[in-house]
Assembly symmetry: C2
Homo-oligomer: 205 residues x 2
């Protein structure tokens, strides 16, 4: 049984960070639902129940909020697709499935991002690139190939590009069940790696 | 034998368009050699041998020149990769080879574009998308599949994403001969389409 609330702490660094994190999380939800251009700072403040002045204190521009939200989305996506247990094939399929589910849940934001719309600059590019390199590092870890030969590196880069383009098409049309897209993407990785690595080489088969 | 030059025509619409086309072509060469951020309007005017004022008359901002150059590059790329004769396999391989050659010749511009750097907005997005849809329409024409089923459409979109990502990696590293990259990309299209279309379906094989 609680006897009265604990005294409310003074404004601290933690409060600032906690509040900022809340704003980022709500921003992410807003940008996921509506195109960037249609989200105004006024809307954001209204939906978050804070003053525009306070919002600007945390994020001087809408782009700042967008970039912070995108960074959060990237962390979230990498966490959900990180499945350390199970055999490599199962982990890959489950990872691809989690990727597709996340992109479908954040379709407007994913479409805007991949179409290279507003807010697509170096900072955004760095966040997108971080996701790609993390995914590639995980796959290479599963292949026990820390330093891949050029053909494998190009195949993995190509496959990530394929996942992004296929996902963009799928979230716009939604005319194929998610598990079929997952199976296509998973098979394509296996086929791409087979094409890149398992072909006969001079001197050995 | 010419007897003296024809009288110089007055300033006409053609002159304006011809001059503009020249500026676009030189702009394309500049952006192909150096990153966008390192190209100033002053440099452009200097290299083109015209005044900054005249350059601004044709292109009010550097972005305008960039977008015009990119549009020109897209037309150029689509023309070079359009090989209407020969069997589909040969045309595909030659088209991919021309694509790789063009991107290698314009590597700094291709890298900036694909990394979503400066200038990556809706206008740029439309130019990039036009290239993709044209390439896909050509492949579908070769397959005699004007209205592809979802699996094939997603496979083609995915393959274009793969070509872009693999090319971006390759022009940055150049550690594989062009014909090997060409063969990888060509094989991947065949494999992707095989995965998308040629699998057994319920009711028939």
């Amino acid at each position: 049984v609680r006897r009265g609330a604990a005294p409310k702490p003074a404004f601290t660094r933690l409060d600032h960070d906690t509040r900022r994190a809340q704003l980022v999380e709500r921003g992410l939800r807003l940008f996921a639902k509506r195109p960037y251009d249609e989200v105004s700072m006024e809307d954001v403040a209204g939906e978050l129940g804070i003053s525009k002045g306070l919002l600007y204190h945390y994020f001087p521009t809408k782009r700042d909020l967008y970039v912070a939200s995108l960074g959060e989305a990237a962390r979230d996506l990498l966490e959900r697709t990180d499945l350390p247990t199970g055999d490599p094939g199962t982990r890959l399929a489950r990872g691809v499935d989690a990727y597709l589910a996340y992109c479908a849940d954040h379709a407007p934001a994913y479409i805007a991002l991949m179409r290279g719309g507003i807010g697509s600059d170096r900072e955004v590019g760095r966040i997108v690139e971080k996701v790609r390199t993390t995914l590639i590092t995980r796959i290479l870890g599963g292949l026990a190939l820390p330093a891949p030969p050029p053909r494998v590196r190009i195949a993995l880069r190509g496959w990530i590009g394929m996942v992004e383009a296929a996902t963009l098409d799928w979230v716009q049309h939604r005319d194929l069940p998610r598990d079929e897209v997952r199976d296509l993407l998973t098979e394509w990785l296996v086929r791409s790696l087979a094409g890149a690595e398992l072909r006969p080489r001079p001197g050995h088969r």
